[in-house]
Symmetry: C2
């Protein structure tokens, strides 16, 4: 695996790959890689003849009181994992390469960025959209792969790509979970053993909603109440938000009807903030749903 | 000249040109073409093997009380001029092709966009930056050509291109003027004959500043006072701003020293808003300046 540190070198690497008619797939990450990231790489290897990944701990998507300084940094282990997974090129720039002192441009996806995660983390999605746009301009992939755990992020990036007429296709991949249901996240390493046990409540709550939906419940408030009840049973967990939203607009819905919806969760377990979601899609058959955890 | 109306067709046209190893130059316009635009096209023909232009009257860069509805629309004459000037492809999309109903993404170049033109025209540069980024993504030119009359716009677009790691090189071309010095602008057609005569005061004021600078004046306030005195002598002209700014930061300077500066003017002549500028660059020799009107 080639490791590239500068933008001009990365652009030249991409130019060469495209000149050789490669289909370039791209997985942007902040490092601290886990099986979720590696599942994106395996998917990319199926669709693309060249797989590029990036490791860049993007400061602009962290709020002033968030965990930028303590975010896990595991570069050597990450490189080993990416090499083993078959990544061809790793782009790992320093912060000043991405944000020189004169930097002053930002991208906003209005209407989708201010609510839910964006409300809890002001400026977060501006930081995400801006850095991902920059990475897309540098790497110019035909395909980019993201995990569905960050459902709102993926929706925002898809909207950005559409609105700005980018040539990249954004591929959304399933959530990867621990055997007990906890969605993989680099932040799981913050949890002590008691918190780690309590954190399974996110999956338990969403799974209860899934079962209810599958047995016919279409009332969003009822699903929300079930989720809330299960979360409340876990004393170490403090709720941030529970929302049942349209999967396109991320606006709350009152009933599950003809369009896909997300049940979205954000909680604090101790000092660690975790998110998770359940995707509910109407199936072809009458009243049937496909629920993806 | 080929006229392209849709984004997919334009992308395919560009793809073909790039596959044929053409160097693509691009001139985005809002139509109502004049000799200033045509000078950009002539310059593009010198540097590039394919010249693409666009005509798109971008609604998002007009404020609610501005002249979008009465902005001159001269499509047939524009097509004739572009054809005669040797443009290969004209991209002329409808508004709904550029801004579908779900559109919600915006680009801001912070710090450069809020002052001067941006202060007089809130949201203007957001609209400009966003539509030009979209056009760059659609047309993917190696070079794009802009007139120096819109000095702040060009500076913002250069910053955007740098910050977002775009591959386009932005080429700034000289201001084209009428024989009496009035800078060409599509908005000049709004002027009645009395106003047209009064409008020459912009050039007269900047030319006086040029002469003063050339005879040794380095004090920005003094240059500003001279400009102001000449503008004030014209009763049909109402001043918006006069500013002597660093050509990089667009921050006011008190003295002309080692860096390029702009003398920037914005005035109303009757109901018509006009801008103009003088570029003052330090020459290699001691104390010498190169002044460009």
């Amino acid at each position: 695996m080639e490791i590239v540190r500068t933008i001009p070198w990365m652009k030249e690497t991409v130019r060469q790959a495209r000149a050789d008619n490669h289909v370039v797939g791209f997985i942007p990450t902040m490092g601290a890689l886990h099986e979720g990231h590696l599942s994106l790489i395996r998917r990319a290897r199926m669709d693309c003849s060249r797989v590029f990944a990036s490791i860049f701990l993007n400061p602009t998507q962290f709020g002033p009181n968030e965990d930028l300084t303590k975010y896990p940094r595991t570069f050597d282990a990450d490189v080993e994992k990416l090499t083993a997974a078959g990544v061809n090129v790793l782009f790992a720039p320093e912060s000043k390469e991405v944000y020189p002192p004169e930097f002053r441009t930002h991208v906003d996806v209005q209407g989708l960025s201010e609510k839910l995660e964006g409300k809890s983390r002001p400026g977060h999605f501006r930081g995400v959209a801006t850095v991902v746009l920059k990475l897309f301009e540098i790497v110019q992939p035909q395909f980019a792969f993201f995990g569905r755990k960050d459902a709102q992020q993926v929706r925002i990036l898809q909207q950005m790509a559409t609105d700005l007429n980018l040539d990249v296709k954004i591929v959304v991949c399933p959530i990867v979970r621990e055997p007990d249901g906890l969605a993989l996240s680099s932040r799981n390493t913050y949890l002590n053993s008691e918190e780690r046990l309590a954190a399974t409540v996110l999956h338990r709550a969403l799974d209860a909603a899934r079962r209810e939906a599958n047995t016919g419940t279409r009332d969003a408030l009822q699903l929300q109440a079930s989720i809330q009840g299960i979360l409340a049973s876990e004393p170490l967990v403090r709720m941030d938000y529970i929302a049942i939203v349209d999967a396109g607009s991320f606006e709350p819905v009152s009933r599950i009807s003809g369009r896909p919806v997300y049940a979205l969760l954000a909680v604090h377990v101790g000092k660690t903030r975790l998110i998770d979601n359940l995707l509910i899609e109407p199936a072809a058959g009458q009243n049937a749903l496909i629920c993806s955890l």
